[in-house]
Symmetry: C2
Subunit: 205 residues, 2 copies
Amino acid sequence: MGISDRKEREKEELKSLILSAAKKLFLQKGIEKTSIRNIADQIEYSPGIIYHYFRDKNEIFHALHQGGFQALMNKMMVLENVRHPLERLKAMGSIYIRFAIENPDMYDLMFIKEAPIDHVYDSEHDDWKEGSGTFDYLRLTVKECLEKGYFQGHQAEPLSFLIWSTVHGMVSLHIRKRCEVIQLEDRATIVDQSLEAFFKILDKI
Amino acid sequence: MGISDRKEREKEELKSLILSAAKKLFLQKGIEKTSIRNIADQIEYSPGIIYHYFRDKNEIFHALHQGGFQALMNKMMVLENVRHPLERLKAMGSIYIRFAIENPDMYDLMFIKEAPIDHVYDSEHDDWKEGSGTFDYLRLTVKECLEKGYFQGHQAEPLSFLIWSTVHGMVSLHIRKRCEVIQLEDRATIVDQSLEAFFKILDKI
DNA sequence: AAATTTAATTAAACAGTGTTTAAAAAAGCA
DNA sequence: TGCTTTTTTAAACACTGTTTAATTAAATTT
């Protein structure tokens, strides 16, 4: 079946061609200003072809956001060398925030925009496996901290969510430009300063 | 000058007519699906008229988000009866989160969407006074806590931002539907549970 | 090799969007 | 009443996501 193999291959190639064009335009102009026609122009096909590979625009951006989780996971891999669970937890926070600040559009897509998550709910497999995988890792580390005697009197699930919320809150206020309320002298460094304060709190509780 | 007084009045009336129509449609269908033509239909005028009262769509939603801050501030007014700064801080958190959960679309507009903040940057008076006013109140309370000896070793600005980030993180993950990662048994109550955990932490540091 | 079937691709249309412009209608003033 | 100013509208522009039927290209069969 050599022919259908090649056809399969060509289909995959065009699909990833669409995806890379979409990613390029998305990082240049944002999700709203990246149109199906823009993507089609970029790959020199007609707009209609895209609907043979993706159900709708949301599915394209869901596929893109998967790539973002892959990238974040890769950055998290250095944590395997950090034995101490509390140290690992802090390092996770630093990596998470660094990823968000360095890739604001991708972070936005992964954790703020409605497009990819809407696609999850619209499709048959209605669980957000990308997010769940990442949160599992956080929960595991928090549980390890609890086992080692840290965070006494706390439960893993709410505490994990609290920690996630804290770092997500900081970067999403930054990305969505709500940090103007911060005094000018602290504005540029507020996320780093607050993360330091957060680490100090984690040591104390 | 009775006539120009009436004209002034009529202008204001039409402006707030546009605004209330916009608000109604926005709460029904969201910002993206509320079109200028929808608003014009609702008030039984032609679409063009709207541009005599607002520069663009963003300005309309900036005006709406101001109303949201007014509503939030009103809810915060009960705090004047809470003397103890740490108790007031916690109550602020509860009110903030309650407001967000009960008015998700308005909260979204105020703290997540780019429309109102884009208008702030596009217009001449480029400071976000609505957000600044609210944050000032938080900072004041945190400072009072510091004066009373709480949160030793922390600075007001980073700590205030950290606290804001924590509550904003929780509700924005909820509003933007990223809470699916939470175990089913905790999912419905995760924000409340995490807020409780946060209060416990605030007591300890 | 030619005819037929299947798959890939496109052009065109639909129903919408925010915004601008020039024309028309209404209101105010002399 | 005639003139001027203000208010309002119709129409156009350049887009948008998506669906449909028609067309082109490729693969298979005769």
